[in-house]
Symmetry: C2
Subunit: 133 residues, 2 copies
DNA sequence: CACGTAGATGACGTTCACGTAATGCAAACG
DNA sequence: CGTTTGCATTACGTGAACGTCATCTACGTG
């Protein structure tokens, strides 16, 4: 079953990306599939990273930014000295993301208001129509 | 004072964009500055739209997607028949955005957990160091 | 009136994130 | 054993979103 390793095709079907995309991400050092002969085999770690990559893209991060963010997610590999710095960066990122969410909330509220307004207009138009009958 | 009209330079300084960007947005029909002779003058409406454009970009929307979203914000100009459809689209958009916020919240929580973990490791390393002294 | 300044209009260049062949190799199949 | 299938590499192509450069125009100022 899920032997923890997936071929490129399986990856593509699972995550709805093209082979080109996966190879491209490897070239950019976002993924590190192992090799069986020539063939790529994607590990659990690669899949976790890919999910984060796709998520990052949905929020408008560039691949380079995503690469840096990904490094924050395997903090365990770091040395003590780098660790402190890494955490510092992570905190900044966290701040960014929370600000982003605030903004998104604002956008949602704006749109909701527009919707209410639109519905109100429709309602009043219906009344006019009714009155005209 | 704010005569409701701004030159391209004022716009650039206010919103930290280049003239090229503003002209580009006009070419793409995202902005509609009025003309005084040759010169562009940006209205209150243009500024509102620009804010939404920049916000949209921060969330990874393409300019084309943003253009469509912008149309949702001047619902008032629409006809009744189109109105219903517009509101329908707006509702879908709203759903997207709320899902997006959910995802962002998840990402924030993930990162927070990583942070706590990192801090724990650092703390335990300090203890080790202390014990070794 | 010469001149600097602000803005306009092409038009070509650039970066990012892949798409799209063309070609090769190696195992699997009929 | 030839051929299809799956994946690999190399390399050129592409659309989006501007950057950059050259040239032109209109206006205020000394």
């Amino acid at each position: 079953m899920t032997e923890d390793l997936m071929t490129i095709r399986e990856m593509c079907e699972t995550y709805e990306v093209t082979p080109r995309t996966l190879r491209f991400y490897e070239a950019k050092e976002l993924l590190f599939p192992i090799r069986e002969g020539q063939k790529r085999l994607f590990t659990k770690r690669d899949r976790a990273r890919l999910k984060l990559i796709l998520r990052g893209k949905r929020f408008g991060f560039s691949l380079e930014e995503i690469r840096q963010l990904l490094d924050l997610y395997h903090v365990g590999d770091q040395q003590m000295t780098q660790m402190t710095r890494t955490i510092e960066i992570a905190r900044e990122r966290l701040g960014d993301m929370e600000a982003r969410r605030e903004e998104l909330t604002q956008a949602i509220d704006d749109l909701k208001e527009q919707l209410r307004w639109g519905e109100k207009v429709i309602a009043s138009m219906k009344n006019e129509k009714k009155a005209a009958e």
